[in-house]
């Protein structure tokens, strides 16, 4: 009875506020955690950048690139047990929360939401991609993922210049932006030591400028290109947290698509898939909150539903509820 009541309350919750506070809390942990000796490890499945000297937990890609760049004879030996165990920790973190890491925990994602809030304050409309550019641009994150995984392996095999070590990190806007929050602006420079270094650091600065401009005009602009998002998607079928859809209850009204920061068409138009999580999804749950159909969308942990679309919840969030009640 009590549990039932709490469950009903959750269904009517203002998901935006809930999300804002969780994001703020985790932002502080990841960006400033070092000040209070918080360290949740170096296998975190979000862009919590290790170049931030006070980071409370570090992006897995940093150690992954480092580990994969070992010479092959070492990489494929017993000494690499550490590589596997790090991977195991990453998977464990990821499997529990699925892509909710993106929507709730990623510092870079949170920053983009704040930039969106600024845009809203200025009452400037957001932009969207056309269907065609969406389809071609979304492939970029897989190219970045290849850079993250393949380039270190090539270095280890001696086929690529070691200058490319940590290549993606050098290109990533997280390296330039995150340290700024602890007063470190030193990453904003071009390394002239070699051609590769010039390319990588210039790319990093350019990408960061694009990050700011892009996320100002397009919601969650960077996430669309994020290799971590691509990595997540590979393992999301095994995750405990699930985003599910009951196509029979869907009217295809598109309310979920309307609020989706990532412009995922399938959330509205696919009425066949039960598991509706897509590679671009950031698991922010705005779609579930914006769905006016009872039980059409829901979030499950293992097999228990924790958040569902409801008529009542929708009405409350939209201000459609009758005051007399």
């Amino acid at each position: 009875m009590m549990i039932n009541k709490i469950f009903q309350k959750i269904q009517k919750a203002d998901i935006r506020k809930f999300r804002f506070w969780i994001q703020l809390f985790l932002f502080v942990i990841f960006v400033y955690g070092g000040y209070v000796a918080i360290d949740v490890g170096r296998e975190i499945p979000v862009f919590s950048c290790g170049y931030d000297r006070e980071a409370g937990g570090v992006c897995y890609f940093m150690s992954l690139q480092h580990q994969l760049a070992r010479p092959w004879e070492r990489l494929f030996s017993g000494a690499s047990l550490g590589v596997l165990s790090a991977f195991g920790v990453f998977i464990l973190w990821f499997i529990v929360f699925n892509k909710a890491w993106c929507g709730y925990a990623c510092p870079l994602g949170t920053m983009q939401d704040w930039i969106t809030a600024l845009r809203k304050r200025l009452r400037i409309p957001y932009s969207t991609y056309s269907e065609e550019s969406f389809k071609s641009l979304k492939k970029i994150k897989y190219i970045f993922l290849l850079i993250v995984i393949l380039f270190p392996l090539l270095i280890g095999a001696g086929l690529l210049d070691p200058e490319w070590r940590g290549g993606f990190c050098k290109m990533c806007p997280g390296r330039l932006i995150t340290p700024m929050f602890v007063g470190d602006f030193s990453q904003w420079s071009i390394d002239f030591s070699s051609k590769t270094a010039i390319f990588l650091t210039t790319f990093g600065i350019a990408f960061t400028v694009v990050f700011f401009v892009g996320s100002f005009i397009k919601k969650r602009f960077f996430c669309f290109f994020c290799p971590m998002s691509a990595m997540h998607y590979i393992f999301s079928p095994f995750a405990l947290l699930k985003l599910k859809k009951d196509g029979e209850k869907c009217t295809k009204c598109g309310d979920c698509y309307r609020v989706c920061d990532m412009q995922i068409w399938d959330i509205a138009d696919d009425v066949k898939s039960r598991d509706i999580l897509r590679d671009d999804c950031i698991f922010c749950l705005k779609c579930v909150a914006a769905c006016p159909e009872e039980d059409a969308l829901q979030v499950d942990i293992v097999k228990w539903a924790i958040f569902k679309s409801t008529k009542g919840g929708f009405a409350k969030r939209m201000g459609f509820e009758d005051e007399t009640e």
Binding site: P125, C250, C253, A268, F320, E321
Partner: protein
């Protein structure tokens, strides 16, 4: 002597010649009253909260009273014209889709013999300049939805109206159609504001969206109650309520609908059922029943059926899909309103009808439907054409379906009611067998 007297007497007699308009209004009033009396008195256990709606129809169609004053009146000729935009300009949308046989006859001159009763009746009404509840129209919006409506735009203009042509896509799955329709609505918002000389802003649109949303929530609350095992409200009452939404003041409508909700909810507690224990539960779909052409719902429920759900543009489709806004600014709200009227729509004018089939299936399951009654106005090609695929789907689901082709003429009565009675009987027999077996 007598022979001489007669012409003299005839000459002295004062002859009152009724003008055409008065005659038309008298006919309308007769038609309206007949249906109202039937709906009101031919069923047991009437709801007292329904009195408001009976009186509203009487006021509008019999006593010719006007409902709105001082606000601009925007006539709409389809379900696709966004109420939210019109309310945001403090204007009143009045849906003009008409259900009178009198009007069908007078509108008949414009159209081929076998064409949609609704379109004919609407043309007839416009020709008579006899708009329900309204003194005069300040604006008239006509979307290019079905062929007959689209082609009738020029006829409405011929009668002498200025018509706003609203372009509507006939494919709704594509991204192009979404963008096309959003552009139509953005343009409409600008044009209407300019033509009426009324401003629309963030605050007024937000409150209009919420006003309409509240009306929808009220309807949904009432509709939910029809899922119950013993149905506490008859479909004829629901149709009357949703029909009133065409012209009534929206806030009063919401208030009165909530009053009906409260009464029905009280009934549920007392376990009072509006229908019989064995009354077959009917899903109504097809051409819209519009007052006073409620003969089909009336016949179904007179034959001991109970309409528990419907899929038509004079009821369910008016309220079903709701606006969802991400950023409460004009740029997002106008697009959000546009989406509501296109994406979820189950009108048969679209190329595909998968969404309509899925809606029907969902309604059948959640309202525990025994049989489907599919009405198509004779000459309504899109509903006639979809009948086949819906029939096949119903066969696959094992749900009996009765297909009826009707128009607004009262002459069909006997034959039609016999068919409906037979259908209800067969459903009852089927149910009994299911219980026994």
């Amino acid at each position: 002597m007598k022979q001489n007297e007669q012409p003299e007497k005839a000459a002295r007699r004062v002859r009152k010649v009724e003008n055409q308009k008065a005659r038309h209004q008298r006919h309308e009033a007769m038609e309206a009253l007949k249906m109202l009396d039937a709906l009101r008195h031919d069923f047991s256990k009437p709801l007292s909260s329904m009195d408001y709606f009976y009186e509203l129809f009487e006021k509008v169609y019999c006593r010719r009273e006007k409902l709105h004053s001082a606000k601009p009146m925007v006539g709409t000729l389809c379900i696709q014209i966004p109420y939210e935009i019109i309310y945001a300009m403090d204007a009143v949308p009045v849906r003009l889709c008409n259900g009178f046989h009198t009007n069908e006859q007078s509108g008949g001159e414009f159209m081929p013999a076998k064409s949609c009763s609704l379109v004919k009746a609407t043309l007839g009404m416009l020709k008579q300049e006899d708009i329900p509840g309204v003194d005069k129209l300040d604006y008239l919006v006509h979307p290019t939805t079905c062929d007959q409506k689209t082609k009738s735009i020029s006829m409405v203009e011929e009668i002498g109206y200025d018509v706003y042509h609203m372009e509507f896509p006939r494919v709704k799955e594509s991204e192009e159609s979404r963008e096309y329709w959003r552009r139509t609505i953005r343009k409409f918002t600008k044009d209407l504001s300019k033509d009426l000389g009324r401003k629309i802003n963030r605050r007024s649109l937000k409150s209009a969206i919420q006003k309409v949303g509240k009306a929808q929530v009220a309807y949904h609350r009432l509709n939910e109650l029809r899922k119950l095992k013993s149905v506490p409200i008859l479909g004829k009452d629901i149709f009357l309520i949703t029909n009133a939404f065409f012209f009534d003041d929206i806030e009063r409508w919401t208030e009165m609908t909530l009053a009906v909700c409260s009464e029905v909810e009280a009934r549920v507690k007392e376990e009072v059922s509006a229908a019989g224990k064995r009354s077959p539960r009917i899903l109504y779909t097809g051409s819209p029943p519009i007052f006073p052409n409620l003969k089909l719902p009336y016949m179904i429920e007179q034959a001991d059926g109970v309409i528990v759900a419907d899929e038509s543009c004079s009821a369910n489709r008016l309220f079903n899909d709701m606006v969802s806004v991400d950023e409460w600014f004009m740029y997002d709200m106008v697009d959000a309103v546009a989406d509501r009227y296109l994406k979820g729509c189950t009108c048969p004018i679209f190329t595909k009808n998968d969404d309509r089939k899925r809606r029907l299936k969902e309604l059948i399951e959640s309202y525990n439907v025994d049989g489907v009654v599919y009405q198509s106005f004779a000459g309504c090609q899109v509903y006639e054409m979809e009948q086949r695929s819906i029939q096949q789907q119903m066969e696959a689901l094992g749900i009996p379906m009765l297909y009826v082709e009707t128009d607004y003429s009262p002459g069909q009565g006997g034959q039609l009611s016999t068919r409906i009675e037979a259908f209800m009987e067969s459903l009852k027999v089927k149910n009994r067998r299911k219980q026994e077996g």
